[in-house]
Symmetry: C2
Subunit: 217 residues, 2 copies
DNA sequence: TAGATTGTTAATCGATTAACAATC
DNA sequence: TAGATTGTTAATCGATTAACAATC
């Protein structure tokens, strides 16, 4: 019942459960046993039952799990039903792609402001939002109180802006810059995305190819 | 000495070591002890020494590690020094951002072809490469023999194209689509990127905020 | 040499898997 | 009821940390 702290390993698996359950639902299925789900996902039935029971008993003996119910429970656990306002800083290739490509809304995220320091980008409209100058971040945040900042800027630029954002009330970062936020700011929530780390891992696997089934975190 | 199989946990940490060592080198440092590196990276000295000793004894008692040497050793372990040809499929926002934003070359990756099924994109030039039609993948691969495919296409499109690519000799995928490649194709190397999973994890952390220092895989 | 720090073995901790009684 | 499958405890496995002898 979420009394004690849930381990990171479990939390990292929740989005994947959510994704698979969504697909099963889309296929018109209504119930599934931990055994069948484990086969489809490539993990053990035991692990699935252990993971889910960190949060409560969502299944029923002899029946299994109701797919729709379970998915919505996981959505609640992940907080996808809670509205969260976010600003995105850095509208280069990556920032634009993130803005346009991600389905923020169905996870409860609302992008309310886009920023860049490059004059030539300011004024451009992306996804119905004008790109503002980073000089206007202060005023914008005081007025609109976003809780989350998405950083699509280089490491060097991030160092300066992070402190400012925290002072303005930002509580969480989705961090594509390689600046290490938690190093200087404890108790701020950070999710780092290191695409280059992922690419290097691919390189390793390719070079040391050893025909093994990958584990899912 | 890389005799037995290296655990996934260790491999996932290597790119981060590589990154930190690069920064130390850029700062003009030449040597570092496991203790000091552990302080900077937020892990234990013991873990660093254990990790590195999976691959060999790169340090020296009483001295520590030579930063430049250690970084280049890790580069070799990761295979960053081995040239790898790659094609990228799907030149929407995400594909374009990946093409332009990633520093492929310094990891040994060479992007040799870009593809999309959308006529309006075909012919456009990105990073000095023309976008080709996906119909031409067959011919292109037979001629140029890429080993890697980067998939920036939707799940539905991926299902069809993956088998074709494997038949054409593709050995590894950097997979931004949510299609589960290993499900049907064992012994193909895959690195999945699920940005939405990362975003959901941020949502969870934010909702269940509990002032804790994040662990680095 | 003395001090520092590695490489490596042993101890601990946490996560995964197995087993089974509870129960739908 | 009988069969299926959960929830949960106990056993195993693997990863991290601690300790220390080797050695630069």
């Amino acid at each position: 019942m979420q009394s004690s702290v849930i381990s990171n390993s479990v939390i990292k698996r929740l989005p994947r459960y959510y994704r698979f359950l969504g697909e099963l639902k889309a296929q018109g299925m209504t119930r599934i046993s931990s055994k069948e789900l484990s086969d489809r996902m490539g993990l053990t039935a035991s692990q699935i039952r252990q993971d889910l029971n960190c949060f409560g008993g969502f299944g029923q003996q002899g029946y299994g799990y109701n797919i729709e119910l379970l998915q919505s429970e996981i959505a609640k656990i992940l907080g996808l039903d809670v509205p969260k306002n976010a600003i995105l800083i850095g509208m280069g290739n990556l920032g634009k792609a993130v803005t346009m490509h991600m389905n923020f809304e169905n996870k409860g995220f609302h992008i309310i402001g886009l920023f860049d320091s490059k004059e030539s980008l300011v004024g451009q409209v992306v996804k119905n939002l004008p790109i503002r100058h980073t000089d206007d971040i202060d005023e914008f945040c005081r007025e609109n109180r976003p809780q989350i900042a998405i950083l699509c800027i280089p490491k060097e630029a991030a160092g300066n802006i992070v402190g400012q954002l925290i002072n303005l009330g930002i509580k969480g970062f989705w961090n594509f810059s390689h600046y290490d936020i938690t190093l200087n700011h404890k108790d701020i929530v950070v999710e780092n995305v290191h695409l280059s780390d992922s690419l290097m891992t691919l390189s390793y696997q390719l070079i040391n190819k050893q025909t093994k089934i990958p584990t899912f975190r």
